[in-house]
């Protein structure tokens, strides 16, 4: 298991938003973390990346606890986060954005070639300012920037956000290809259908708890997932059938 999270609790101020969550990601897997807005998915991801200190529980990367290490250590621990809303540097060129991603990497020029090979669109726009790219291109740039660190585990936060459906498809195809590079991906998504289409396994999170875990085929058939995330079937409670 590349990533192991055990009973993690975290939050902001006095407010706990992740109430004891456990999950794991095996090497080479794409794992989805699905859930509605405010379920605590992004907070969980930030805690895994070391940006949010856990209140309780453990995060282990390759069996080693990451507790107490500064977030930048995570990068050299082969873990890269692509934050929600891309967060690219709008006033810097595509090239500069990429170079920052590989800041600690001595072979970053070499790695840049690899990344540009993956995303030819970025090569075409290499000297353009990040802010002038389209939404889809910005997402590619954010992905490329994360790849510059040569991570083993990629943490993606809502890569589909704000993208046209066609663009979502393109970005997700790219993510799927990363698996062939030997990358492991944990992807947080509200767009359950898109995430289930590329994931090997997925977790469903609601109000700070994980409710379900399984393979996409199972989750697609799960009545709760169908109702809450795939927009099929009406809302019914089992209590209606209780005989008591």
């Amino acid at each position: 298991m590349l990533l192991q999270v055990k009973n993690l609790r975290c939050g902001y101020g006095n407010l706990e938003v992740v109430h004891g969550v456990s999950l794991h990601v095996c090497a080479g897997e794409i794992v989805g973390l699905l859930g509605a807005n405010g379920a605590g998915k992004s907070s969980l991801l930030r805690a895994i990346a070391g940006l949010l200190p856990p209140w309780h529980g453990e995060v282990l990367v390759e069996g080693r606890p990451t507790q107490g290490q500064p977030p930048w250590r995570g990068v050299s621990n082969s873990l890269s986060l692509v934050p929600e809303g891309k967060m690219i540097f709008a006033d810097m060129s595509v090239r500069e954005n990429l170079l920052i991603g590989g800041y600690h990497n001595r072979d970053r020029d070499l790695q840049m070639e690899v990344v540009l090979e993956r995303f030819p669109r970025l090569r075409e726009r290499l000297h353009q300012l990040g802010g002038t790219l389209s939404g889809g291109e910005q997402q590619m740039l954010a992905l490329g920037r994360a790849l510059m660190a040569r991570p083993r585990l990629l943490l993606l936060d809502e890569p589909s956000m704000g993208l046209a459906p066609r663009m979502v498809e393109l970005v997700f195809t790219e993510i799927l290809k990363m698996k062939d590079l030997g990358l492991t991906v944990l992807i947080v998504e509200q767009n359950a259908l898109a995430a289930l289409s590329i994931a090997d396994r997925a977790y469903v999170m609601e109000t700070g708890e994980i409710l379900l875990e399984g393979e996409p085929a199972e989750l697609r058939h799960n009545p709760e997932v169908k109702r809450a995330y795939l927009g099929k079937g009406g809302v019914e409670t089992p209590d209606a059938y209780e005989s008591v």
């Binding site: 456990s22 999950l23 794991h24 977790y203 994980i210 009545p223 089992p238 008591v244």
Partner: protein
């Protein structure tokens, strides 16, 4: 060995990984039960599962709890999502309803396939299932599993032994799934009729419940096949709780079930079941768990099932409780009389305490009430009983 693992990823999962998976699934289960099942809502309100060890602080579920919410109160989903209903014997012979969603059935298929694979079943095999489908929901589990392995299942389950023998000769099944009693009958009749078991094509006989080593050897010789057993529980899964490996150990499917032994009783938590998840279900079966490394390569904890702890009898593979006999007697002249049961593998002895009114208004001898009770037990429970009348103790 590691030869016949159907689901290697889970069956041979390393202990630390298995424990991580169990913790994840236990936490999700508690969250789902708290949200979706009213019976658990209050019990689980303040509960936090911090680690696998904290399972010991979670509330038990008893067969009586399940009975109290008969039929659908334990379901975590509305009935429209449940696509299969089985019933199983609950306390004092009252039925319990077990529901399955589509995912539950798919999982059942995989778990049954693990047992079939361990018995060496492949797509080249022909399987005869002689369980008496009407009384044995297990048959449908085996069919699901066999379909997954793509083995050929004979969709016919004749009760009469002659037809079973005819099927063995005509279809040439390589695998026979049956009850120990039926297997013993088959062996006996083959011998009586001087049919050489080697002329059949059986390779493996899979029995519906564990038997002693002695009976195993007897059957292996009589049917000229290797003998394997399965162990399941109607309320959990049967087959599908565990798998008997080549070394003869029952490995619990720990990716699906959390097994504990509390005061000698087997307690099972279903980790991934959708329709009817059960938290710390007291199975009323004595058991021991053993964490020894097994040479088959499976990592699931080894279960040694013992006797039942409630008064459940098994006669001719039909399970029943004393309460059911009392209920049947209530329909006869012997209503309200005290009785004693003695059950052997093939017959049930019922000794009813005599009283004057039992034979009042009967012109003939004691024969008539005896016949009435016997036929009533046969008709209602499918059990052949010997009824006798005894003097009440003074």
């Amino acid at each position: 060995m590691l030869m016949s693992l159907f689901d290697r990823r889970y069956e041979a999962m390393l202990r630390p990984e298995l424990e991580q998976l169990q913790l994840e699934r236990l936490q999700a289960l508690v969250a789902r039960l708290h949200r979706n099942v009213r019976r658990y809502r209050e019990k689980l309100a303040e509960v936090r599962v911090e680690s696998l060890e904290s399972v010991a602080r979670l509330p038990f579920t008893t067969p009586e709890d399940v009975l109290a919410s008969f039929p659908y109160g334990m379901f975590a989903f509305p009935l429209r999502e449940v696509i299969r209903l089985h019933s199983t014997l609950g306390p004092e012979g009252k039925p319990l309803v077990i529901g399955h969603t589509r995912n539950d059935l798919a999982q059942w298929a995989r778990l049954a396939a693990r047992q079939l694979s361990a018995a060496g079943v492949t797509a080249n095999d022909v399987i005869q299932i002689s369980l008496g489908a009407s009384t044995h929901p297990a048959a449908s589990g085996y069919v699901l599993g066999a379909e997954l392995i793509e083995a050929s299942v004979i969709a016919e389950d004749p009760l009469h032994i002659d037809y079973q023998i005819a099927m063995l000769r005509n279809y040439r099944p390589t695998i026979l799934i049956t009850t120990p009693t039926n297997a013993l009958d088959l062996g006996r009749i083959l011998e009586q009729r001087r049919i050489d078991p080697q002329s059949l094509h059986l390779r493996t006989v899979l029995l519906s419940r564990p038997v002693s080593g002695e009976i195993r050897e007897q059957l292996a010789a009589a049917l000229f096949a290797s003998v394997q057993c399965s162990f399941g529980l109607g309320e959990i899964l049967d087959p599908g709780l565990c798998v008997e490996c080549e070394a003869g150990a029952f490995h619990v499917h720990e990716d699906q079930f959390l097994a504990e032994v509390c005061e000698g009783e087997l307690v099972i938590t279903t980790l991934a079941r959708e329709a009817m998840p059960l938290l710390r279900y007291r199975t009323r079966v004595s058991a021991a768990l053993c964490r020894d490394q097994c040479r088959c390569g499976r990592s699931g904890v080894i279960l040694c099932p013992g006797a039942r702890r409630d008064r459940r009898f098994l006669v001719h593979e039909t399970a029943f409780y004393e309460g059911q006999i009392a209920e049947v007697l209530g329909q006869t002249r012997a209503a309200g009389h005290r009785f004693q049961l003695e059950a052997s593998q093939r017959r049930l002895q019922v000794a009813i305490e005599m009283s004057e009114d039992l034979f009042a208004n009967t012109v003939s001898s004691a024969e008539s009430p005896k016949q009435q009770v016997e036929s009533e037990i046969l008709v209602r429970l499918g059990i052949e009983a010997d009824v006798s009348f005894v003097e009440p103790p003074r």
